[in-house]
């Protein structure tokens, strides 16, 4: 063992990634929708509470806001 264990670059099988990718995409997009778009161009919840609460983040993250 003269050499330290060097990480070997072995790709993950696509089959193993795909279900996680789909799940993460769906959950992630739902989260982004509430930060970026809810009560802006579209609204699932009445009022302006969500929009006003994340207002500064929405502007500073680059989403179109009011």
């Amino acid at each position: 063992m003269a050499q330290p264990a060097i990480p070997v670059t072995r790709p993950l099988p696509i089959r193993e990634i795909l279900p996680w990718a789909v799940f993460a995409l769906v959950v992630g997009l739902a989260l982004l929708y509430f930060v970026g778009t809810e009560q802006g161009a579209m609204a699932l919840i009445n009022g302006q509470g969500v929009h006003e609460f994340v207002h500064d983040g929405r502007h500073l993250l680059g989403f179109p806001c009011h």
């Binding site: 990634i17 996680w20 500073l60 993250l61």
Partner: protein
Amino acid sequence: MITMRSLLVRGMLVGLAGAVLAYVVAWFFGEPQVASAIAFEEAKSAAAGEAAEPELVSRGVQSTIGLLTGLVIYAVALGGFFAIAFAFAYGRLGTLGARGTAALVAGAGLVVVYVVPLLKYPPNPPAVGNADTIGRRTVLYFTMILISLLAAAIAGYAGRSLAARWGAWNAAIAGFAVFAVIVGVAYAVLPAINEVPADFSATVLWRFRVAALGIQIVLWGTVGLLFGALTERALRHAPHQAREVASSA
């Protein structure tokens, strides 16, 4: 041992760390511009004789816990997406290791998902933008992000296909050229949005946009570098797998 589960958890956690650092940037560089823009908005409506809008959520909440919440949710989602992209890229980019792959994916992500769409539809502070066009602006912005992602995918595919014949260097140049052409056509074809009031401070607008870019650079930078470092460390602490793979390779 690399599993998709551990990568995804790591991605979301480094996203959280990125959000905290991004908040520092947002607080010191972004919030002063938001405050200036709101002061401009209020002065305008006061001059027009309109009553002040009732505050549903106070400025104190918006600029602290509201901003942090927005950044955390955004960054955790981004960290998850990043982990997926890393999983697809890792081991498929020549001999690049975990740290290099993570840095490359983060850099590419920042440019493709944020910088390229921003150059067409830049972020705007409060008081800039007509409320009646929010639907159109939202659709155009997300369309630009989608086109940028598609262009990157096509460019990546073209680059990979050409690599065997042209060599890695020339194939990469060809890939970048494909990306630039698609993005350039989109820039030219998609309608422009210019809704900045004539008397809005150009300095505030510039500083706001630089702050917005800074937030994203810190966010993606933290995610890319921290994710790479942690993944590399996890791989080093799994010598059994490394040896087994090394002997079978």
